[in-house]
Symmetry: C2
Subunit: 458 residues, 2 copies
Amino acid sequence: MKRDKVKVLFDELKAKEATVYGWVRTNRAQSQFGFLTINDGSTVLNLQVVYDNTISNFEEISKFRVGMSVKVVGDIILTPDAKQPLEMHAKEVVMLGDCPENYPIQPKRHTPEFLRDNAHLRARTNKFNAVFRIRSVAAMAIHSYFQSNGYLYVHTPLITCADCEGSDQMFKVTTLDMNNLPKADGKVDFSEDLFGKQAFITGSGQLQGETFAMAFSDIYTFGPTFRTENSNTKTHANEFWMIEPEMAFCDLDGLMDIEEDMLKYVIKYVLDNCKAEIDLCDQFIEKGLRAKLEAIVNSKFVRISHHDCIDLLLNSGKKWEFKPSYEDDIAKEHERYITEHFNGPVFITNWPKDIKAWYMKVNPDNKTVAAVDLIVPISGELMGGSQREENLDVLLNRMKELNVDPEPIEWYLDTRRYGGCVHSGFGMGFERLIMYLTGVDNIRDVIPYPRTPKNCEY
Amino acid sequence: MKRDKVKVLFDELKAKEATVYGWVRTNRAQSQFGFLTINDGSTVLNLQVVYDNTISNFEEISKFRVGMSVKVVGDIILTPDAKQPLEMHAKEVVMLGDCPENYPIQPKRHTPEFLRDNAHLRARTNKFNAVFRIRSVAAMAIHSYFQSNGYLYVHTPLITCADCEGSDQMFKVTTLDMNNLPKADGKVDFSEDLFGKQAFITGSGQLQGETFAMAFSDIYTFGPTFRTENSNTKTHANEFWMIEPEMAFCDLDGLMDIEEDMLKYVIKYVLDNCKAEIDLCDQFIEKGLRAKLEAIVNSKFVRISHHDCIDLLLNSGKKWEFKPSYEDDIAKEHERYITEHFNGPVFITNWPKDIKAWYMKVNPDNKTVAAVDLIVPISGELMGGSQREENLDVLLNRMKELNVDPEPIEWYLDTRRYGGCVHSGFGMGFERLIMYLTGVDNIRDVIPYPRTPKNCEY
């Protein structure tokens, strides 16, 4: 079937005959003629189709309902003085799939809750059409950035038996009959499970990623990630996608350069490839979104140490719910103040080592680690990374201090035994990025079918 | 740290000063000078570094061991008459990370089993360096193909509570303490689990993908997939990646056009972007690989019905282990014969409905469905797809016949209620593709960290 995509028609702006397949968004029929708006999902822009009573099935068309799938053939006419730059004058309009009057997605405002309860239909609304297109294009931007810079895309495994993250935070996976588990010594006998031992789904591919950075220098992962948190906030989901780049021969400054460069690239790519979608988000979700994103592309991100951040917060004269502390994490209210203060993304570096992970490079002060969080207005933390501790002895000591068993990850420690080097990496939650790019403030509304506690429909 | 990548040096072929970070692959030292080969993973090609005793630490360099990480600074000299088109004349060579003599990856032939047992180090060998680079570039090719054709990349959920595939083939996931499961009426009480009911990891995103195709017309998924098969063949893994495109307003012929176009695009993209890697696979893994792939790009794929295939097999005069049957699947030996007979990829269409899935479009003969498998030499089935049954009544009848409960997937059936249309989709196992592109004959050797029964290391 020859199909002209509505996006291509808008991109080309060419008067020609076209054949479009899509779904009816509105139908306004008068006695002699009528207007259909058709969306085919290739863009949020609708094709306006003018039909008149010279078409043999005019009466039938004038009764077409919202949601029907149709084929329209006609002439594309450029209308430079109208709101829409083009319209179609129909020669043929055929219904392909019917849609009843009680179709839930009518051309009116629906509440977010109603649309979450109809997640399988909400992509047919303008808002979600725009959000999921931006999500798709942003994913492409990420691949494009890393591949054009020579990075290797590595698919790290999701199923793991290495319990090094603490199994409390990981889903257990099994092929055993859970109603009839085999037992040995009163405990589940996982030797009968598919892998011969207990297995989990992992929350990170970093450790495997590091082993590949020691072969390819620059690698990235991009895949789904799972957390068991029983948390019902606007920024938590139990299943989400994450990007984890890892670079050999790269220190903390180099890491920040890459994070900044990548974010600007992705934003620019989305601005260039999702014009109509960003406009829609700007108009209906976050006023000023486009200006915010354009400003980022041309800005220089601030880099400030955790210590100096605390100074700034303490000297702000503000009343804080959580008192800023040189030994502690930075609360949401602090993040907000800092990004507002600097009016843009901020790298916070050199965090107190006691609140950070065991694999991070210990600084010469022996109090802080070479970690960096990138915080942005509204979304908060967008990326978290660090230089990794490449010294095996220091690393083993840190593991001991923090009760991390080296035995299941001897393979990981080999990266420090065989040609180790200064290296760094970061993780970026993909949904956080999409929230930042669209202005959507609830993670449930940037994931096609979100999984949150007590919510695993579709 | 300013880094010149070896790939860029080979691509540019420019005489200039360069700074390269990488790992020692070989070191041949003589009394006055020596040769280091350095690999930085940006390409399988090694940089040959010539050093001599004008460098202050010459003695030290001449003892550098395989596997050490180093920094080399020097002049790139073009050597058009030599085997390698360029080499570096070193001015500075510094060890960054030591590597002991017992480093497992020495410049010699290792068995596949040895390398599987050292999966965290095998990417440092030429073969795996090439295979995983091709894997990465092929992934990019897939995204590039679909995005440049206006498809939406959709992240369908992995965790699901809809048991419609048959839970036997799905991993169960839980946050419950498996040694102390809550019970109600003698069965596990999943109401206490994170999602309030029993959850699985899915083996396909097709159903959710179809709902998105009804909003965006053309969509694709690309993500990890899980099967619990307790099967130890060369082509089965319990975790692998899959691509599942789904197109509205597309029939079986259109589907084959897309499959063929996509495969040729991906092959061409890999040939263009992985020259050295394909050469290496051609030389060491599958002789004639490059010629095979180049031939595909310029071929026209054969399209033949299942019925005509059986005719062909029965009339071949061959003795078959499995007798070809008009009602049955096609065995490996048959696939091999067919691809050899046509000397290339073959689409087999219109399969007996009794051996295919419930969602496939029933043909007017009421005996076959509009399904298509693409089979290729060596790898066998590379893609499987079908036109989907868009008629709700026919679909519900098929579900009844095949004992598929409609209740948990009413949302899916809505795609047939609200503006349904002719649509089609296919699935492609990404590892099968990589095996085809590299000539590697064991799926364990195209996955960074493979998961197979009793094997879940790293």
